[in-house]
């Protein structure tokens, strides 16, 4: 029961992710009445859960490398800080991404618990945030060119084109939901995977581990967000960026789905590595920013007259402001959690016990001691 209570912050984060990001997948399809909301919500809900359970581990590992939030109280606080940052920045109409909020929040935990932040991992994550929208733009242009070529070669009746676009929007939307689940589930449940160990479910032919169960729960939270609130988001902010035709929406959603898929597929990353190329970093990226990248890509391809360059400034602001805001909030919330609510939030306690057990009498007051987060994975230390 207490586990479920602590999990609520992650579930809230998942709900808000579903409510906000479904607009990137089915916003135009619903807005242009090509796909009914009910059908879109069912498809998105199912595929987001499948994506989260089947392919969510990759991006989750990278977040774990940045900081293995080790206690339930800390995981709750870190996720809550990220969720509040997203909520607060959305209220202020500032560009915000769950991926960037959770990274900032984890770094806040690193600072609070004196854990070193792996700059290599952080660089990898930030590089992905920048390359995600760029890649989205490149994919969108290539797909747009392909669609133009196909339209010139095949002269389909408007009605057939409408039906094909409609079916395409549903299929691409399902792929988009899958990729969103696979890539963004780490934002929702990533911080809990080190602190919650659920009993594996053994069905003889299939064993569902603790992580998969958490991802499944997180996936359900995202699906509920899609079902309960995304329609409101689509109707209010979903179409404010730029009115899109259903054909353009098809391209943009496909470009976004490909980017999210690439940054979450372990198989693809391994395949790239096996031919001697650097492996693709598996990092949660912001679907909204990839969509903006895709729209800008098409805008540039069409001559660049319609592009609002201030959007680029907004994205860059999001890259910096969101993690900083989440990091600061996380740090202070951890302080309160630790000192007011007396909840363990990480290595501070373990550090003290480790010193007492291993070096009795040799402790010096205020002596800085560092430890590696992997220590927590050690069986002998896990019982401490």
């Amino acid at each position: 029961m207490i586990t479920l209570l602590f999990l609520t912050s992650g579930l809230f984060l998942g709900w808000s992710l579903g409510a906000n990001d479904a607009a990137n997948i089915f916003g135009t399809a619903i807005g242009t009445r090509m796909v009914r909301f009910r059908l879109a919500a069912i498809i998105a809900g199912i595929f987001v859960i499948i994506g989260a359970v089947a392919q969510g581990a990759g991006a989750n590992e990278t977040l774990g490398d940045l900081g293995s939030v080790s206690t339930l109280g800390a995981a709750f606080t870190v996720a809550l800080a990220a969720a509040l940052t997203v909520f607060w920045m959305t209220r202020l109409s500032l560009p915000v991404s769950t991926s960037q909020a959770i990274v900032g929040s984890i770094i806040g935990w690193n600072f609070y618990t004196n854990n070193p932040t792996d700059l290599g991992v952080l660089t990898k994550i930030v590089a992905t945030w920048i390359s995600g929208p760029i890649l989205g733009g490149i994919f969108a242009v290539l797909l747009f060119m392909l669609l133009q070529l196909a339209t010139r070669k095949v002269s389909l009746h408007l009605i057939y084109k409408d039906v094909i676009t409609r079916v395409g929007l549903v299929i691409v939307g399902a792929f988009g939901a899958y990729s969103l689940g696979a890539n963004n589930i780490a934002n929702v449940m990533g911080v809990f995977t080190h602190s919650i160990q659920l009993t594996p479910l053994d069905f003889d032919w299939l064993v569902i581990g603790s992580k998969q169960q958490l991802f499944f729960i997180g996936g359900i939270a995202i699906a509920i967000g899609i079902a309960t609130y995304s329609k409101h988001v689509i109707n209010t902010v979903g179409r404010s960026l730029m009115p899109l035709t259903p054909e353009a929406a098809l391209i943009i959603v496909l470009a976004q789905s490909l980017v999210l898929f690439i940054f979450s597929s372990q198989t693809l990353s391994s395949a790239i590595a096996s031919i001697g190329l650097p492996p693709i970093p598996l990092v949660p990226v912001s679907s909204s920013q990839v969509v903006i990248g895709a729209i800008i890509g098409i805008g540039l391809y069409k001559g660049g007259r319609e592009i609002k360059l201030n959007i680029l400034g907004s994205i860059s602001l999001g890259w910096i402001a969101t993690p900083i805001a989440a990091g600061i909030l996380s740090f202070f919330m951890l302080f309160f959690m630790n000192n007011v609510f007396k909840q363990e939030v990480g290595s501070t306690e373990i550090k003290r016990i480790l010193q007492t057990e291993t070096e009795p009498g040799s402790l010096q007051k205020n002596r800085p001691i560092t430890y590696h987060p992997d220590l927590l994975q050690n069986d002998s230390l896990a019982n401490l």
Binding site: R33, S155, L156, L158, I159, Y160, V167
Partner: protein, 216 residues
């Protein structure tokens, strides 16, 4: 999935059939007027019953198309434009039928020395309609081509206006043997025939905008 494609296929067939019916209606109008001017009474009567049947078919098809398109939310972005365009196509056959009936009801007398002008007026006015109908078909398959196809419509419409003006001038300035009532009666028939090309031009205007919208 197959149900959606089945509905789409049915709608495509109905739209094609509707456009063909309208085209036939305009052709029947032309033949009917020529029959009347050449005093071929039996053929004219046949054309009256033909256009009656074609107009009823067009109306039935138009209702089916509207129902199917709205019921299955096909072309949600451009459905109102498409429906209003098909309505304009239907107006062509409606007006062709009404005008042909006017010949039967009012039995206008066309003096020998102006008959050829009326034949030219009918042929040119109908030509404008016959040029706009293929553009309607093209709108559904290659909207980019529509604009180029409409040049002829505007040409024939302006030619029709010129011929009509010449007829009216001739009626009121040269044909002193006719009394005023006859002149006015014949003037009205010039206007009736001319209305086919006017409707064709209205349809062409709508198509130009629709093709532009769909290409953006």
């Amino acid at each position: 999935m197959s149900i959606i494609f089945k509905h789409a296929r049915q709608l495509v067939v109905e739209i094609d059939e509707f456009i063909n019916t309208a085209e036939k209606g305009v052709l029947v109008f032309k033949e009917g007027v020529l029959n009347y001017l050449n005093n071929e009474k039996e053929s004219f009567a046949d054309k009256i019953s033909d256009i009656d049947r074609l107009e009823a078919t067009a109306d039935r098809l138009q209702r089916k198309i509207d129902d199917e398109a709205y019921q299955h939310s096909l072309l949600p972005q451009s459905i109102s434009d498409v429906v209003s365009m098909l309505d304009r196509v239907d107006e062509l056959i409606d007006i062709a039928k009404d005008n042909l009936y006017l010949f039967e009801l009012e039995l206008p007398f066309f003096p020998e020395n102006i008959r050829n002008e009326y034949i030219r007026l009918t042929t040119t006015s109908v030509e404008a309609a016959l040029c706009v109908i293929p553009a309607v078909r093209t709108y559904f398959r290659e909207p980019v081509q529509v604009r180029d196809m409409l040049t002829k419509v505007y040409f024939y419409e302006s030619e029709t206006d010129k011929i009509s003006r010449n007829i009216k001038r001739k009626l009121f300035h040269e044909m002193h043997e006719l009394d005023l009532a006859q002149k006015i009666h014949l003037r009205y028939f010039a206007l009736h025939i001319e209305s086919i090309s006017d409707k064709a031009q209205e349809l062409a205007d709508a198509l130009t905008i629709m093709a532009l919208k769909i290409n953006i």
